[in-house]
């Protein structure tokens, strides 16, 4: 077996050194009734590379790859072009096959890129400090809420109706088990939500998403002011980080904590995972942050170096009193993120954001020209919601049959029966730099035909 270097002769020599007759004898502490006499029944035996590869090719063939179909899906996962060098660099064994940098003398590569990553995340979100990543945007949102409750010593959590339902459900699930008091505002179908009205003196935080799940962008400064006046924190969720190349960042609008999904930079949509959760806050809250933090220091020769730091917040030191239970995070996805952003640089990132916005505006105008299609009012970045005269699920299915991945029906995200009246006709549509003018024409034409 190709992954096992020991030979039968090695095994015999080693058993002799141990003084054991058989390997089975080494398992003597396992109750004998639970020791299987041979391989686990019901599973095939080992297979060569070619055989395994064929099986995966067969699975792949049963999927419609967005590479072969114009794709307008967003809703928390965005298809962007990833420069070739990103995937090349993250597959270097030194990055791919190392682990958490517990021995900093031989992990400066990981530590330095995480330090740069933390800097990029803090800068792009307009915040002061960022951690070395969490699992994804949804779990980062849940962590933000728990942190806000610790800081304010309050338990009332207000979740905006513009939050992506997955982030909302993950947050609600975690909050429920911690006995927090949840106020979930109804889905903000038409952008009329006034989250400020839900803030009172018991409120730990308000959680809003920008752009929201329907694609709308808004100025959060007034909400931040209301929160702060009430002693509450404002948590801002960003699901499309490319927007930060162009949009006013949460920090500039008064956010206290930013929880973001970083997939858009460096990471493929990958059927939703793994991705990378970004987490940024104000310096004064740093000791309440979840997750790993890399800090600068010097070595015994006085040379600059980096280490994991402030670990008295973490589970391996503080156990049940830790700020989070997280251990393994999203290191390699953070690396992909940071390489992509370094490649883009200030100018490239701004340009990428602009290309996304231009593509989305262009698509919105095309779709708005279709009779019976209404595009939502108000500002947006690279995603928006349209109202169709037919259930969006059926339309999307029909367009998929024609090789077009048309968007995410709101009913997919809000499947509850009591939302059907609002959700059924709505379709979330995203456009990125990967969508050509041709793609958009095909989509608009096909949609018009479907609605005829």
């Amino acid at each position: 077996m190709r992954y096992l270097p020991l030979t039968e002769a090695d095994r015999r020599t080693m058993l002799a050194a141990i003084g054991s007759e058989t390997v089975d004898a080494l398992f003597c502490d396992v109750p004998s009734a639970a020791r299987l006499p041979g391989p686990v029944p019901g599973l095939p035996n080992h297979a060569d590379e070619l055989t395994v590869e064929r099986a995966f090719q067969a699975w792949a063939a049963r999927n419609l790859s967005p590479a072969n179909a114009p794709c307008f899906l967003g809703a928390g996962a965005y298809r962007h072009h990833i420069p070739a060098s990103v995937d090349h660099l993250i597959q270097r064994g030194e990055f791919l096959t190392a682990y958490t940098p517990y021995q900093p003398e031989v992990a400066q590569g990981t530590l330095q890129y995480l330090f740069e990553f933390q800097t990029q995340v803090a800068l792009a979100t307009g915040m002061e400090v960022a951690n070395a990543s969490l699992y994804d945007g949804a779990t980062a949102t849940a962590e933000a809420v728990l942190m806000a409750a610790r800081i304010t010593r309050r338990s009332r959590i207000v979740l905006s109706g513009g939050l992506h339902p997955h982030a909302r459900e993950v947050t609600a699930t975690n909050a429920r088990f911690m006995n927090l008091d949840l106020v979930q505002l109804p889905p903000d179908w038409d952008g009329g939500e006034t989250a400020s009205d839900a803030v009172n003196s018991a409120t730990a935080c308000v959680v809003v998403q920008n752009p929201d799940v329907f694609g709308r962008v808004r100025d959060l400064a007034p909400l931040a002011a209301t929160c702060h006046a009430a002693g509450a924190l404002l948590v801002v969720v960003v699901n499309e980080v490319v927007s930060l190349g162009m949009l006013r960042p949460p920090g500039d609008m008064g956010a206290d904590i930013v929880a973001a999904e970083g997939q858009s930079l460096g990471n493929a949509t990958g059927f939703g995972g793994p991705t990378v959760g970004l987490f940024a806050t104000r310096e004064k809250f740093v000791r309440q942050m979840p997750g790993r933090l890399v800090g600068e220091t010097v070595d015994a020769d006085g040379r600059r170096g980096f280490v994991l730091t402030l670990s008295t917040r973490e589970q391996h030191i503080r156990r049940e009193k830790a700020t989070s239970n997280i251990c393994t995070n999203s290191g390699l996805c953070a690396l992909a993120f940071t390489i992509h952003l370094t490649l883009l640089g200030e100018a490239g990132f701004a340009r990428l954001a602009k290309l996304n916005h231009v593509a989305a505006v262009s698509l919105a105008d095309r779709l708005a020209a279709i009779p019976a299609v209404t595009v939502m009012d108000g500002p947006f970045f690279n995603e928006f919601t349209v109202h169709l005269p037919k259930p969006a699920v059926a339309v999307v299915e029909a367009l998929a049959g024609r090789g077009i991945l048309a968007g995410v029906p709101a009913a997919r995200l809000f499947p509850e029966a009591d939302h059907a009246a609002e959700a059924d006709a709505r379709l979330l549509v995203a456009a990125t730099e990967t969508n050509s003018e041709d793609d958009m024409d095909r989509f608009a034409t096909a949609l018009e035909e479907e609605l005829r």
Binding site: A17, V23, L73
Partner: protein, 505 residues
């Protein structure tokens, strides 16, 4: 400071000193060519950025060199022996990486119509099938992001099941030797944590555990094999006592590699166990993730598993339950966005299919054999914390270093100069100066012999009175020992632009 071999550039041969990306380039450069966007388009409603971000600009060759140079400052499994106990640093096959990037697998959007991702759902179902067969448990929640997340998810499932039978309980029992994530996960599930002591054999003190059991205990969280590298040989008795008390038996499966393919946790009375796909099933550790932590569940717990779950629909198709309202069972909620760490399912499944039932059966045997070989050959060099045989990792204490002035940490740092990654040190907490060595099955006897030779010579050197040699180690790594106290006292967690020089009046 000047030292032997110092150079003008700061580089030393192949070892390059690399400044931060922020200290390079200029903001107008870029490493990505993008077309000029149409001018004058703005539907941001006046919410555009009002100031630059402050990112540097580098051309592609500069970026590639930056990261390549950084990579060379890392130790990795590809490059050397990495016996980091509890982390199962086994070889990471590149076939896994290739398959995770196939068109139609790596590029799927998580919210494509279900009719267009039948292969992906079949793949998740196949991965789940392997995990269920290998653990002997009937259900699995696939979505947790890593081991700790699996722990939290498993406990949430337990709490949901208990609350469903109107039996809210308050405490979770966790051995003192447990990994820090165990008590932390219990706490974030709303439980009070109670520690149970280890006995002199490095195993749970069963009598003490039984005393702590009671009607308000929701679960015990046991790692098996435990963090001392030992199999909890009273496990059947423990399981019975836990079940008699109406509680659930949670197993931390971080050490599943010791028994995979030969012992099914379901046959040991375990109700719930997370599996670190990045340990047992060879998905790469990635410098600290991403991992995946699916949780296998007993029939009693299965109905309460979180969404999403893949189910067989009519006519051989697959469906995905994404919201509790779509489920006939009683999912407690959701723990992660979308469908979990799909890319890790691909890699783990590629590994399981490559190894097969026979290969996995052999892998755990070799992992245990390698650890016992190290323990036997180091007899007299390092002191085993507990008598053997061990399972897949060998645990030593600091005893043989007593009176040498050399600590566990010093020895670890000296191993770096020998070209090995140190073992896990000072964990588990129940052993003084712990050194936890996990060789895994993907190391050859030749590698183990070289490691043994280095350890023997280092320990002999410690006994020879050369404590200074150890205090100064490592000397041959990209950095000498780093000042962690300073890092924590005056935290510098990001780069900041140098303060503009104030012009002299």
């Amino acid at each position: 400071m000047t030292q032997e071999g110092s150079t003008t550039s700061g580089h030393r041969g192949l070892d390059a000193e690399e400044p931060l990306s922020f200290e390079q380039g200029s903001p107008d450069k870029t490493g990505v060519d993008l077309p000029e966007p149409a001018a004058g388009v703005d539907r941001l409603g006046g919410l555009t950025r009002t100031r630059p971000i402050g990112l540097p600009g580098l051309a592609e060759p500069e970026v590639v060199r930056h990261y390549l140079r950084l990579s060379r400052q890392n130790f990795c499994i590809d490059g050397g022996f990495y016996p980091l106990g509890s982390c199962t640093m086994k070889h990471n096959p590149r076939l896994n990486e290739k398959l995770a990037r196939l068109p139609g697998i790596g590029d799927l959007h998580p919210l494509q119509p279900v009719s267009t991702v039948q292969g992906a759902l079949a793949l998740i179902d196949a991965c789940a099938g392997w995990l269920k067969a290998l653990t002997g448990l009937p259900a699995v929640a696939m979505s947790p992001g890593a081991g700790a997340h699996g722990e939290l998810t498993g406990l949430m499932t337990i709490r949901a099941a208990l609350e469903d039978r109107g039996d809210a309980r308050a405490r979770v029992l966790v051995p003192e030797s447990a990994h820090g994530t165990n008590p932390a996960s219990a706490r974030f599930c709303g439980y009070r944590v109670e520690a149970i002591p280890a006995d002199r054999r490095g195993r749970v003190d069963v009598a003490a555990m039984k005393q702590k059991l009671g009607p308000d205990v929701a679960a015990i969280m046991l790692t098996n094999p435990n963090t001392c590298g030992l199999f909890e040989n009273d496990i059947l008795e423990i399981a019975e006592a836990v079940h008699d008390a109406g509680a659930f038996f949670y197993c931390d499966g971080a050490n599943f590699n010791a028994i995979v393919g030969r012992v099914r946790p379901g046959d040991l009375g375990i109700d719930c166990m997370h599996i670190n796909l990045h340990k047992t099933f060879s998905t790469p550790h990635g410098g600290g993730g991403p991992g995946a932590g699916p949780v296998v569940l007993s029939a009693a717990l299965a109905p309460f598993a979180p969404v999403p779950s893949v189910v067989h629909g009519e006519d051989g198709t697959f469906r995905i339950i994404e919201h509790p309202c779509q489920s006939d069972a009683k999912p407690f909620g959701r723990v992660k966005g979308f469908h979990g760490q799909f890319g890790m399912f691909v890699r783990a499944l590629a590994y399981m299919m490559s190894m097969g039932a026979d290969g996995l059966h052999q892998a755990s045997a070799d992992a245990v054999l390698n650890a016992n070989y190290l323990m036997a050959r180091l007899d007299g060099t390092l002191h085993p914390a507990f008598p053997g045989p061990c399972m897949h990792e060998a645990l030593f204490d600091e005893d043989t270093l007593k009176d040498t002035g050399v600590t566990t940490l010093d020895l670890a740092k000296a191993l770096i100069d020998e070209g090995f990654h140190p073992m896990t040190v000072y964990f588990p907490l129940v052993v003084h100066g712990a050194m936890l060595v996990e060789p895994t099955e993907t190391e050859s006897k030749q590698t183990l012999d070289a490691f043994i030779a280095s350890l023997k010579s280092l320990v002999a050197r410690a006994h020879g009175g050369d404590a200074r040699f150890f205090e100064e180690a490592p000397r041959l790594a990209p950095r000498r020992r780093l000042d962690e106290t300073r890092a924590a006292r005056q935290p510098v967690l990001r780069w900041r632009p140098p303060a503009p020089e104030i012009a002299a009046e």
